[in-house]
């Protein structure tokens, strides 16, 4: 297959820490091949040089938190043939979505000397709440191997291999001993979307749910078992109020445990 021109890649930032887009720069072994295969047309973390749109593939990081974001994401969508959101902010609202459970005006009045300069939305929301998203890549941060898989799949016009099942399956494929069963350590693995490589349990820690809810999460059943392992209501509330707090399954479960 010969391509007439290299596809144009753009990387966009909304409310986020930049960690996910830096995952692309972290692909040290693959980076030269990436540049061979795509034209990096808009990626401010990597270069000030900007090539005009439209773009064949847009990677969007971050959540929508301001009225300007709402307008800008529309422009990004219009300029993009294929739009992929990367990371917990873009796919679930991120850690900043903790504001969604409180009154934003109270924060503004306490945090800022001149609140009248602050123009913000009362909720931090995922990109898919605003525009059509072609593909969502989970994680806080995303896994760089999965990012390469998504770009490779895009280039070949195939579906990426990014399963939506539990982290448990990844632990079992690795042969990791279950920390919940063998150590009594509370773990979110059974309800969390796989993709990280099941890192935490391999270091004897419970899963923190960085990749958000798996395809069919039974949060109520897992919470009940956490209680039996000694977790208090407050603990359960807090684990669901992490990077993916505003993902629907985690949000609903956290609300059950809120006083």
């Amino acid at each position: 297959m010969t391509r007439k021109r290299k596809p144009k890649l753009a990387v966009w930032k909304f409310a986020s820490c930049d960690g996910c887009q830096l995952s692309l720069l972290d692909c040290e072994d693959e980076l030269l091949t990436v540049v061979d295969e795509v034209e990096i047309a808009y990626f401010l973390e990597a270069s000030r040089a900007v090539v005009k749109g439209p773009y064949d593939l847009s990677l969007v990081e971050g959540s929508i938190t301001t009225p300007l974001d709402v307008r800008r994401i529309q422009q990004v969508r219009q300029a993009s043939k294929f739009l992929v959101t990367i990371g917990a902010c873009a796919t679930a609202g991120g850690i900043q979505a903790l504001r969604n459970f409180k009154d934003i005006n109270e924060f503004i009045s306490v945090v800022y000397a001149r609140p009248e300069y602050i123009e913000t939305l009362d909720k931090s929301t995922p990109i898919a709440n605003h525009v059509f998203v072609d593909f969502e890549l989970r994680g806080c941060p995303i896994n760089k191997r999965q990012l390469i898989e998504v770009i490779s799949a895009f280039l070949q016009g195939r579906k990426p291999n990014t399963p939506a099942h539990s982290v448990c399956i990844e632990c079992k494929l690795r042969g990791t001993v279950c920390v919940m069963v063998a150590h009594g350590t509370p773990c979110l693995g059974p309800i969390t979307h796989t993709g990280c490589g099941a890192i935490c349990p391999s270091y004897h820690r419970g899963c923190y749910g960085c990749f958000g809810p798996m395809e069919t999460p039974n949060t109520a059943s897992l919470s009940a078992w956490w209680s039996r392992l000694g977790a208090k209501e407050q603990d359960i509330l807090r684990v669901f109020r992490g990077f993916n707090a505003y993902a629907e399954a985690f949000r609903k479960e956290s609300e059950v445990h809120e006083k």
């Binding site: 297959m1 693959e30 091949t33 990436v34 061979d36 295969e37 390469i148 898989e149 770009i151 490779s152 799949a153 280039l155 070949q156 195939r158 291999n161 399963p163 939506a164 099942h165 539990s166 448990c168 399956i169 079992k172 494929l173 690795r174 042969g175 990791t176 001993v177 279950c178 919940m180 069963v181 063998a182 150590h183 009594g184 773990c187 693995g189 059974p190 309800i191 004897h204 798996m214 395809e215 069919t216 999460p217 039974n218 109520a220 059943s221 897992l222 009940a224 078992w225």
Partner: protein
């Protein structure tokens, strides 16, 4: 029946190694007894045991120096006979065509140490699936044909064991090269040895041994009888196929679905579950492609995905599929139950769903 003493176990290990076998068996890692490479008997969980119940597993120190004083852990032998992740082939673009690069595998000869009777039954079930049917799985066959099996008759049962119900133990009756029973007495730590194959006899000839006396033979019977009485679980298999076929719409399926996490742990720890998925990947350049096989689980949505969606979208449908396959449709498909009563699915379920309890509930309120 022969006798070897405790020191001769080391000689048995050395003999197997000298014959080119890589030893794999129980060893302690991360708070559990897993199956991994062994270099000597010192790698075995000497003086350790396990306590198991629904959703819990804990290592405990024993008061003695038993070498095999525990039951089965989170791993099963399937991880060696058909690896969890396996590349099947690679391909390279070649102008307008492409070239297959097949995997030429060199697989080392394994000696499995400490295989339990339920696990022999599980291996026999997987043999049926992978090599005894119409279609032979080359990955499994390559690994399976060289394996030397040293079985251990169980000296204890765990809280989730129910091999007696499934008629699969605790005494090994087939499928081994050598079968040991550990006799642990104050001044005399020894093993009885039964020879299962000519290959087993050949190995034993290089290990100091003597004929077992009548008292020692009786001890073996006592040990396995005691273990049989210790079963932590029971499962009444009377009419089980028809029982489950009659009860597709039993309300218990909704009840278990309310607890089931659909995480897939039960299927992956099960020593007979054999399902895999295939992933085709290409690299960034599009010049290379690979096909990988990975363990899969009937608890994922992808498992039953066909054009338009997943057939088993509810967790009720998925749990019912798994349990009905294991205990009922397996019988139609392969002529045996798919369950060997090892109890792993009960212990390693994060929320302690218990297959024996589910059968009891369905039977009780039919």
């Amino acid at each position: 029946m022969q006798i070897i003493d405790r020191n001769s176990l080391d000689i048995l290990f050395d003999t197997l190694k000298r014959r080119g076998f890589n030893l794999v068996g129980p060893t302690i890692r991360d708070g559990a007894i897993v199956y991994d490479r062994l270099t000597s008997t010192a790698d075995l969980p000497i003086g350790w045991t396990d306590e198991q119940n629904g959703g819990t597993y804990r290592l405990k120190k024993r008061a003695d120096v038993a070498v095999f004083g525990y039951t089965v852990g989170p791993h099963s032998w399937k991880k060696l006979l058909y690896p969890s992740v396996q590349r099947l082939w690679r391909a390279k673009r070649d102008g307008e065509n492409f070239q297959f690069i097949t995997e030429d595998e060199e697989v080392s000869k394994f000696a499995f140490i400490g295989v339990r009777s339920c696990e022999l039954h599980a291996i026999a079930i997987q043999d049926k699936v992978f090599i005894n049917g119409k279609y032979i799985d080359p990955v499994y066959k390559l690994r399976r044909e060289n394996v030397f099996i040293v079985t251990v008759n169980c000296g204890k049962a765990s809280g989730t064991c129910f091999c007696v119900s499934m008629n699969t133990g605790p005494r090994a009756t087939f499928g081994f090269d050598l079968a040991l029973t550990e006799i642990l007495e104050d001044n005399h730590h020894r093993f009885t040895v039964e020879v299962g194959t000519e290959r087993g006899a050949e190995i034993l000839r290089e290990v100091p041994h003597r004929e077992a006396d009548e008292e020692e033979k009786a001890k073996v019977e006592d040990i396995v009888a005691k273990t049989a009485r210790q079963m932590g679980r029971t499962l009444d298999t009377t009419d089980i196929k028809d029982l489950l076929y009659r009860n597709y719409e039993h309300p218990r399926w909704d009840e278990v679905a309310s607890r089931c996490l659909t995480c897939g742990n039960c299927t992956l720890v099960c020593p007979t579950c054999f399902c895999t998925t295939v992933e085709d990947v290409t690299d960034l350049t599009g010049e290379h492609a690979e096909r990988w096989r990975k363990w899969d689980s009937c608890f994922t949505m992808d498992f039953s995905y066909i054009h338009g969606g997943s057939i088993r979208s509810s967790s009720k449908a998925r749990y019912r599929q798994w349990m009905t396959h294991k205990l009922a449709t397996w019988i139609d498909q392969f002529g045996t139950s798919g369950c060997v009563g090892c109890g792993r699915c009960i212990t390693w379920c994060p929320v302690a769903i218990d297959i024996t309890e589910e059968v009891r509930a369905i039977r009780g309120k039919e």
